[in-house]
């Protein structure tokens, strides 16, 4: 889980994305109906943009091991993926959120039984400049900072300096997750600076002494000496937890979300092979390499 790896992975993902797109374009759906579930040769995975990197890496490695099976991966968002699963246009849906009750009702109506499999976890680390004396914050303090209720570090027990709030762009799934989980669905403050990429948040936090931002755990760990990762308390009275692979895995660190694969009913045949691969040691090694946290 270092920066070099990430870059390498990105390159691979781009190519695999291209491959995936061509596959979807060329494979079509004519042959899908001819095969029974057990001997499926094409697997389609659709859904979360957060997971596209991860799933295409899985798909690429899986196809290398099983040259006669083709896996095509497309993004579009978790909602799009779940809709596709309900409409029967995808075999597997990748989702960075749980299926909603409304969607579940719709599934039952359509006689589809969404089967939820947790395949990885994604921790979000809150980072500040290494010179910042603050070491931990509560969820409520974080919410106050990002919504603009606390504008100075002294409001949260720090020095009398302005807080500079950094956020991801609104198109990012992390933006929405952080908004839901930490801000309790309130709006971000208007003065928050929206950064186009995780790397710009790291860069800015490492040079701006009173900045605060949030990034994927993999990135935060890779930038270890440039930024300070804050420990987070769920509540004033609870101990602060530093995000790490262990604490995300165990659920102690709360700003984390599971990443799911959904499919219709129990996995069978090639679908089962693919999902088993994702959960295998090799598949989980890919999870780690792409900057997420393993579930096993």
């Amino acid at each position: 889980m270092n920066v070099k790896n990430r870059k390498y992975v990105k390159k691979i993902t781009l190519t695999s994305l291209l491959v995936a797109v061509t596959l979807t374009a060329t494979s079509g759906c004519a042959r899908r109906g001819d095969l029974t579930e057990g001997e499926k040769r094409f697997i389609t995975v659709k859904g979360s943009d957060t997971m596209v990197h991860l799933v295409s890496n899985w798909a690429e490695n899986f196809m290398q091991k099983n040259p006669d099976i083709e896996v095509s991966v497309t993004g579009g968002g978790s909602g799009t993926g779940i809709a596709a699963l309900l409409n029967g246009t995808t075999d597997i849906c990748a989702a960075s959120r749980k299926i909603k009750n409304k969607e579940l009702m719709l599934a039952i109506e359509k006689n589809i039984h969404p089967n939820e499999i947790v395949v990885a976890k994604d921790g979000i680390a809150v980072v500040v400049n290494p010179q910042n004396p603050i070491n931990d914050l509560t969820l409520e303090q974080l919410a106050n900072i990002f919504t603009g209720k606390s504008t100075r570090w002294s409001d949260v027990g720090g020095p009398n300096e302005d807080i500079m709030v950094l956020s991801r762009e609104s198109s990012s799934g992390t933006y929405v997750f952080f908004q839901e989980m930490v801000l309790k669905k309130q709006d971000y403050m208007a003065d928050a600076m929206l950064m186009p990429a995780t790397s710009t948040i790291i860069q800015s936090v490492s040079t701006d002494r009173w900045a605060i931002g949030y990034v994927g755990l993999g990135y935060a760990l890779a930038a270890k000496d440039k930024v300070k990762i804050l420990a987070v308390k769920a509540d004033e009275n609870l101990p602060a937890t530093v995000p790490s692979e262990q604490t995300v895995k165990s659920g102690q660190y709360i700003i984390a979300r599971p990443l799911y694969l959904y499919l219709n009913g129990q996995p069978k045949g090639t679908l089962k092979e693919f999902i088993d691969f994702c959960l295998s040691d090799e598949g989980q090694a890919i999870v780690q390499k792409t900057g997420y946290v393993t579930v096993k």
């Binding site: 943009d49 198109s171 003065d191 186009p196 040079t207 701006d208 900045a211």
Partner: protein
């Protein structure tokens, strides 16, 4: 007979290539209008006049483009202020004062500057310029409108220099000779005769530079901080129209209100550059008659 047919064919071919451009421009207008149009009915143009741009929210989304317009204006204004003296000064020096050897040396470097991809300039800005601005002005962060303006000026200066240099060079030598013969010094000749004579070209160069500044995306997105606030203070963070479109278009749901709002932003941007071009041409024409 054969030759005449051939000539006709070539003429037709050339006509079609020439009109393709017009066709493309018109279709871009039509396309933008078509995608942005439904916003007028739902949720209505009034929404665009609000002062908050909050496209993703669990509470209430709001699509006020005023902060984006003021953001673009602020960055453009400061970039122009920086661009004009550097552009004109350099072009005067290169065309009038530089020795041939100096010119041989300066011109390629200016052209190289013009060819640097904006992402690279943006990265340079993020790593070098932003910390520098922060240190110079003792700010809490260097991610400011000023950083964007400086980078944009840097990117537009080569355009301004090469076009105004052409304009200055094309001033007839008889003008300069007449001025010198009347006893004016070299500097007087340059500022009182040559530059005024080349003014329409210089203005066109500046307009083109401004056009590049307004439309530039990547470099500004990386250094201005992108906070959608209305401000006239260059040390604040701003969000430009181009950065908004680039950052949000990728993941917006097709046909949603947010999608339409982004096309509205695009239309405003297009109208701005269109207006700028018209003004530039008017200025050019007016001076030519004189």
């Amino acid at each position: 007979m054969k030759a005449a047919w051939k000539e006709k064919a070539v003429k037709l071919l050339l006509l079609s290539t020439a009109s393709t451009t017009i066709l493309i421009v018109i279709s871009i207008f039509v396309f933008l209008g078509k995608e942005a149009g439904p916003f007028v009915f739902e949720p209505g143009l009034k929404e665009l006049l609000s002062t908050r741009w909050v496209p993703v929210s669990f509470q209430k989304e709001s699509f006020g483009i005023l902060p984006l317009i003021t953001g673009s204006l602020l960055v453009t204004l400061f970039a122009t202020v920086l661009m004009v003296p550097f552009g004109i000064g350099a072009s005067v020096y290169i065309s009038e004062l530089a020795k041939p050897l100096e010119r041989e040396f300066l011109k390629p470097f200016i052209e190289i500057l013009a060819g640097i991809p904006s992402v690279v300039i943006g990265f340079f800005g993020l790593v070098v310029l932003v910390p520098l601005i922060k240190a110079c002005f003792r700010l809490s962060t260097g991610l400011t409108a000023l950083a964007g303006a400086i980078l944009l000026a840097l990117m537009a200066i080569p355009t301004v220099i090469s076009i105004s240099e052409d304009a200055i060079r094309s001033v007839p030598t008889s003008y300069k000779e007449a001025s010198l013969a009347l006893g004016a010094s070299k500097l007087q000749t340059i500022w009182k005769v040559t530059v005024p004579a080349a003014l329409p070209g210089i203005i066109a160069a500046i307009m083109l530079g401004i056009g590049r500044v307004i439309g530039e995306t990547m470099a500004v997105m990386m250094v201005t901080g992108n906070a959608a606030v209305i401000t006239a203070w260059p040390f604040d963070s701003v969000r430009t129209m181009t950065a908004t479109i680039a950052a949000e278009m990728g993941e917006v749901a097709f046909g949603s209100v947010h999608y339409r709002a982004l096309f509205c932003v695009g239309s405003v941007l297009l109208l701005a550059t269109f207006g700028l071009n018209i003004v530039a041409q008017k200025v050019l024409k007016k001076h030519r008659v004189k």
